[in-house]
């Protein structure tokens, strides 16, 4: 089960220069692929293209091939694609449907739109709430929740669509540390349950546990590989990416002269 992008490029409507070029990406179910890069490097654009919103909802031009388990999805309408690939955004408040008085109805919004049978709608909603451990919030008004909780509700709303893949564009950008923790843990759990997750983040600390990390610059892939290698790469600063704290500490310890392994062990306690 793979979502694959082959030599994909994208140009926004009315733009002369492409925002993405030559992107090759493979997202397998049950894995996490991290996306890093400076702002305007194309992270958000790549998320929109991978989920199908570009060009369907926002217009623009695309080149290359996008396949889902080998099948080309160019002709799939958004509501069909949304059942396989979910996409979440930075701002939790704008993802609320605004027609739900309770979290339960908010999460049920997707399956209801798909005209799934009533029992199935209810079952999917509960299982999505359970997957993110927010079943106790079911009766609450979504607008009264904290940012982190709202982001989880938004993710539950996506999960209720039963997608195999999730694309998350800086989900913790507007959250405090507690909220960030909630979302980060949820991502790890979801991947463990079999969802393929593509997550873009400025906070590279969160990408340390990914299976693969891509660094974008100027709309192209600049670095690619396991997080250990990519996030310790010398070129990160010039690409506008912050090094994760763990990497910085390791380098600092090495520069101060040895003791690196003991520091690592101490950090992971």
């Amino acid at each position: 089960m793979t979502l694959a992008l082959h030599d994909v490029g994208y140009r926004y409507a009315g733009a002369d220069e492409p925002a993405l070029l030559g992107i090759d990406l493979e997202l397998r179910a049950g894995t996490v692929v991290g996306l890093a890069g400076a702002s305007e490097s194309g992270k958000t654009t790549l998320c929109l293209v991978a989920s199908g919103l570009a060009p369907r909802t926002i217009g623009g031009r695309i080149r290359g091939r996008i396949t889902l388990d080998g099948e080309e999805v160019d002709a799939w309408p958004m509501h069909r694609l949304g059942q396989r690939i979910g996409i979440g955004f930075q701002n939790p408040a704008t993802q609320l449907s605004q027609v739900a008085a309770t979290v339960f109805e908010e999460v049920a919004f997707g399956p209801m739109n798909l005209a799934v049978e009533r029992e199935a709608v209810v079952a999917r909603t509960w299982s999505a709430l359970d997957a993110l451990r927010i079943a106790d919030l079911a009766e609450r008004d979504p607008r009264q929740l904290s940012g982190g909780q709202q982001q989880l509700v938004a993710m539950a709303g996506l999960l209720a669509m039963r997608p195999t893949y999730l694309v998350l564009d800086e989900p913790t950008a507007q959250l405090d540390p507690a909220g960030t923790r909630l979302v980060a843990d949820a991502i790890v759990r979801l991947a463990g349950d079999g969802t393929g997750i593509l997550v873009a983040e400025q906070k590279t600390d969160l990408l340390v546990t990914a299976d693969e990390v891509l660094v974008l610059a100027g709309g192209r892939v600049a670095l690619r590989g396991a997080p250990d290698e990519v996030l310790a790469d010398r070129r990160l600063p010039e690409l506008g990416v912050a090094r994760p704290a763990a990497v910085r500490l390791r380098r600092a310890a090495a520069a101060a002269g040895g003791g690196g392994e003991r520091l690592e062990a101490a950090l992971h306690d």
Partner: protein
């Protein structure tokens, strides 16, 4: 296709005929007991509006019967429009309530959202926005924003939405900058001529026997207050128009002239439709700042119908010109990309519809 339009036209004519036979009247007296017989309510425009709604329903019914769907209407309701409408409704209600309750000016400012949606998405979307705004405003919105009389004027809001949609589709709100002085001069002359013509007609109507004939600006006796009020409003009208003309020449944007004409036309039609509703149901008052005007006109000797219509013909054009102008400003502040994705967006872009063909070599647009 043709059948739909013919059926709608037939329905339109039938409703007009029925309306004229039962209600339409140019008389001027009031009859408190027999509300439908109330004369001086000049109900032709209202009948026209009702006929329009019926014709639309007939059109939709025929299209549904023919094709099992409502494609020409549904195309105006893509997701983006659906997202915009609640925002537009909220803008209508909040601004309208603020003006009516707090500012007490002789304007309404409750149609900015309606006209914005109409221009961006089309006549039906605009009509829905207007209808929803007024209905929700009365039935659902809590105090302090609630407005009792609003629901009764839903049909006025519907027509405003339709007119805005047509103006948008005709490209009237497209920016036309950097025109030569000659073109701007012609635009200014035409605008002043149109306004002057409308004002002349209004004046004629106002002083004609149909309105009781006695109304003029020199009210005898010590009614100085109301004369002053009247002049104040005149100055407001003149000021707005002159301001827009100034912008026309300072920014060299010919669209200002179109904005004025669109606002004026919409305002007059809105006044004609709302006057009979206001006169018959609420005896001409609605609780806002416009009531001072009505009082002034009645003191000057006009009956309910004439006073309401007179007030409408003063307030509505100013209100709608201002509203169209605000909408134009909002459109100017929106990114080109954002506007382009709306159903009528391409008519609002400078230079007209776009530069995007569906395919360019290996770059392809959305196919779904």
């Amino acid at each position: 296709m043709l059948l739909r339009w013919l059926a709608a036209l037939a329905a339109f004519i039938v409703v007009i005929l029925i309306g004229m036979v039962t209600i339409g009247d140019f008389g001027t007296g009031i009859d408190a007991d027999n509300f439908f017989d109330t004369e001086g309510a000049n109900s032709f425009a209202l009948i026209g509006a009702i006929a329009l709604v019926v014709a639309f329903l007939v059109y939709a019914a025929v299209e549904y019967a023919q094709t099992g769907g409502l494609a020409s209407i549904a195309s105006q309701f893509d997701t983006r429009t659906i997202v915009l409408i609640p925002i537009a409704v909220a803008i209508n209600i909040i601004l309208g309530a603020t003006v009516a309750n707090a500012l007490k000016l002789p304007i309404y400012l409750d149609s900015i959202g309606t006209i914005l949606v109409g221009v961006l998405a089309g006549p039906v979307a605009g009509a829905l926005t207007g209808f929803l705004s007024n209905m929700l405003w009365t039935y659902v919105i809590p105090p302090p924003f609630q407005n009792g009389p609003a629901a009764a004027f839903s049909i006025v809001a519907v027509v405003i939405g339709v007119l805005a949609g047509l103006a948008g589709r005709a490209g009237w709100l497209r920016p036309r900058p950097n025109r030569s002085m000659a073109q701007l001069g012609v635009g200014a002359i035409l605008t002043v001529a149109v306004i002057g013509g409308m004002a002349w007609l209004a004046y004629l109507g106002w002083t004609s026997p149909a309105f009781g004939g006695e109304v003029n600006f020199d009210v005898a006796g010590s009614d100085a207050i109301f004369t002053v009020l009247g002049w104040l409003v005149m100055i407001l009208v003149a000021g707005t128009v002159l301001g827009l003309l100034a912008i026309l020449f300072i920014r060299r944007d010919l669209a200002a002239a179109y904005v004025v004409v669109a606002g004026l036309g919409t305002g007059i039609i809105a006044a004609l439709i709302s006057a009979p509703i206001s006169a018959n149901v609420f005896s001409g008052v609605t609780g806002g700042g416009t009531d001072f005007l009505v009082a002034a006109l009645r003191q000057a000797g006009a009956d309910i119908g004439a006073a309401t219509l007179g007030q409408g013909l003063i307030s509505d054009p100013i209100d709608k010109i201002t509203t169209f102008f605000v909408v134009y400003l909002i459109l100017a502040a929106m990114a080109r990309r954002t506007k382009a994705r709306f159903p009528q967006g391409e008519h609002l872009l400078e230079g007209g519809p776009g530069d995007e063909s569906a395919e360019e070599g290996e770059w392809r647009g959305a196919s779904a």
